[in-house]
Amino acid sequence: MLTRKLFRTAWSYKAQFISMIIMITLGIGIFLGFNMEWYTIEYDTSRFFADTNYADYRLYSQDGFTDEELDKISGIDGVNAATRFLSVNLDLKGKTNKSLALDVSENYTVSTVVVTEGAKYDKNGDGFWLSDKFAAANNYKTGDELTLEYQGLDISGKIAGLIKSGEHMICVADKNQLMPDYNSFGYAYISPVKLRSVLREKMTETMTEELRKAGVPENMMQEKLDELLTDKAMTEAENKVYAQINLLSDLDKETLEEAVKNKLGRTIMVTSKTDHVVYKEAKGESDEGKTMGSVLPVLFLAIAILTMVTTMHRIATKEKIQIGTLKALGFKNRRILRHYTSYGLFIGLAGTALGMGLGYLVCKSVMSENGMMGTYFDMPDWTAATPFFCYPVMLGTIILLTLISFLSVHRQLRGTAAEALRPYTPKKMRKTLLEHTKLWDKMRFGTKWNLRDLSRHKSRSFMTLFGIVGCMVLMVGGLGMRDTMAGFLDLLDKDISNYAVKVNLVDNADSKKAKSLASELDGDWESLSGISLEGDTVSLDIVHNPKDMYNVIDEGNHRIALSDEGVYLCLRLKNKARIGENITFSPYGSKETYTAKVVGYNRSVMTESVTMTDTLADKLGIEYTPTAIYTDRKTGDIPSSDLIAGKQDKVQLMKTFNSFVSIMDGMVIILVIAAAVLGIVVLYNLGIMSYVERSRELATLKVLGFRNKQIGRLLISQNLWLTVIGVIIGLPAGVGVLEWLLLALAGEYELKLMLGPLTYCVSVLLTFGVSLLVGLMVAKKNRKIDMVEALKGTE
């Protein structure tokens, strides 16, 4: 019989019950969803990395590595596998704005691929194994012919298979590109045998030309070539192109660096996977998710549980007479407790079950092939993994909710049955400070009534306020994040990148030729290279920008006219040295160290970098070669040259950023909707509670002759006051949370908090809208109040 009462009672409090279940669903759902998101990123990517033998370390040498050197490195204790590796960006022949990273993993033990279609990878094969995403975007099928341009030479072959590679899981052309664009950039693998034949062709061509210049007659040519193109010469050429060794190892970086130095007798630039764009970005995404997962969902869950405390307490006090009746009838305390406690358990179970479903959906909306990360990560398998700590949190929530209802009822059960039967008496009124002022006497009745009601029901008022602040924080946080990102991209488009095309130069481009090409193109140039700064691998950016095509900006987002007196540290390196102090660094592969004074800090787009002018670099005697030219010329107007490795249209580049922004938009929409639902549910639940508690007073007002509208206004104005206070608190709190988030993300981006007026307007208006909507919903109930019924019985 009590079970029947359980459901009937639950039904009579349906507004409260449903809203509590919704709150718990939202709380658990958002908490689980956000945490599953980052954990799934970690889980899926690390599985994919393991499947494709993603390199732990990459060694770079401008002069390349020999076979013997590879053997020496393979022999280091703790190195599990190593291969010579080549990765070079090449243009597709006859296509504008399409290029591929061409990779060769010599012994195919590290940095391998998963074939999704076509032939298995063959070490002696002649064809291309092409990125399946690039193939899909450009309508390539297995068996199609593909031609790449390599320093004026064609590399042709059939597409043997379609692949995915951990090395290119986030397929971007360079560090400045945020989002993959498979239409314009992809990757392909060829076998070392094919590489050797390409090299042979290239050498034949160069030597023939040289022999001709030297006056060797055509009939002698083949003989001379055979003489020159020995195996030894071929091997030497090969050694030069394999500028990279990729290896699997559990050693730490210092140990490995030391071991490599000992074995090879020279300093080699060793970068760990944490410095590789793919690993770093994937890690950044999961860290970002961790950060997001730690603040906002906890806020949700906290609001849900706090709402539960107030609501359960109210229900228990309203049920006091019934509890007393059951007790008087002879039901044992334990039985009554069990009866009422099961409400909390029921809400906990239902909310958690629904929340798990919601969490799965939230996670999948981000982490799935068609989800937001679908364009970012190129992986074969997408799962949904739950971090272990989520289970105790869910269990804890259920236990906590059960405990809350247990304690609420326990309080009512104390004493004798007669005591329990006496109705709940609300707290006695006491005067507030404000009432002793003159101002109080001047207030209208409604104002006084509402103020006293707020102070009498402090926990309810506080919860309402908390709900509004939460709603506001989520909106400002979500929209502000978007503003900041959009503002940053605008800055990147207009202030930093003032060029039309970025021309990437080949490695080891001749410095003089590169500079003269830059002036021919009327452009600026930069030279990016790796340096070691106090043991950290960072970039050295040497800039020559008299044309303001490529700019450096300061913390306040203003362009810096670079000084020749010293270097600029990016904001992430701010703790390395103060302005006026000196830093010492050494380029990789060089024993030289240089010292320069820090003259300022700059906001760097992606890389952690030290920036200086070419004038200063020359003064210090640093050896460098330009790596990119920035020009206003159109792609077609740039003459072909041996120096050019590839061209990047800025419009194209910015487009890839836009898809990044659309990921942000998706997250922001989820947050804003969740915030609005949160606001509505919390406010409606508390609004109904306040309405029920005051129904006697409202009925009295109605009997006295107050019109429905006047009473409605009373109810809404209380809501609106709380909203005003909530907005006043929530706005700076939202900005604070956002700043905290940006700080937490600072390892990845150097973002400056930017909030557009629209964000303020939308957040404030939406919050007020929610509050007003709920106020109207509650006020509408007032029309149906039964004066006769409400006035029966004692206070």
């Binding site: 009124m429 006084k448 009997v703 002759g705």
Partner: protein, 233 residues
């Protein structure tokens, strides 16, 4: 001069398939300035009658005229205005606003009544000047009922409607409150209608209406009503 006229008033409450006739074809008139007691056992329909008269409820059929105005077919807002201007209520359980002080509870009616009286004066007249700034929860039951009388009169209504006004009080306090109620009604010239099952109160009335099973059993005019002191409580 008649101030209230019930003409064939019937009130039927429907609960599911059940029909309950709380008032069955009731007709009577009341003269202004009289002290009327509606007497009957519980469930007789007394309170329904009072609620109809006060505009808290509308009849299923028949007409109710108060102060020459037909109130049986008014809209919600018109009924609110009617209650604000014409009737004052005193309930068994006082129904004061717990979050307002004594003064504020009485002063409250100035927001809706155009020709209201001075709140302070009303409180003085019910003898609660010392408790002007106390909250209802700080007062005894008798004191609370006095506040509710002050509030009802402050609106300056034509009729005072009281539903078991002494029902929640001990007899001594009840008599005191009743005396006050009658004294105030007389000095302000109000018609007063009291619903009760207390026979003793009826002895003081000008008119006694006896109700049973939703019908009027009798209407009795007392030529010489007793004073409160003469009545045996």
């Amino acid at each position: 001069m008649s101030i209230v006229k019930f003409d064939n008033v019937t009130r039927v409450y429907k609960t599911g398939e059940h029909e309950l006739k709380a008032l069955d074809n009731v007709s009577f008139t009341l003269d202004e300035g009289k002290f009327v007691v509606i007497l009957g056992p519980s469930g007789a329909g007394k309170s329904t009658l009072l609620n109809m008269l006060g505009g808290l409820d509308s009849p299923t059929s028949g007409t109710i005229t108060v102060n020459d105005k037909d109130i049986s077919r008014l809209s919600d807002n018109e009924l609110s205005d009617f209650r604000a201007s014409t009737v004052g209520f005193v309930f068994q359980f006082y129904n004061l606003i717990p979050t307002l002080t004594v003064y504020e509870n009485v002063e409250l009616v100035s927001e809706i009544s155009k020709n209201h009286l001075d709140a302070k004066q009303m409180i003085e007249e019910v003898g609660l000047s010392d408790h002007m700034h106390n909250f209802p929860s700080e007062l005894s039951g008798g004191e609370q009922q006095r506040v509710s009388i002050a509030r009802a009169l402050c609106k300056n209504p034509r009729i005072l409607l009281c539903d078991e006004p002494t029902g929640a009080l001990d007899s001594e306090t009840g008599v005191m409150v009743l005396k006050l109620l009658l004294k105030m009604a007389k000095s302000y010239g109000k018609t007063i209608v009291i619903v009760t099952h207390n026979q003793s109160i009826a002895k003081m009335a000008d008119v006694i209406i006896r109700v049973k099973n939703g019908k009027i059993r009798s209407i009795e005019e007392q030529k010489a009503p007793m004073s409160a002191d003469e009545v045996e409580w």
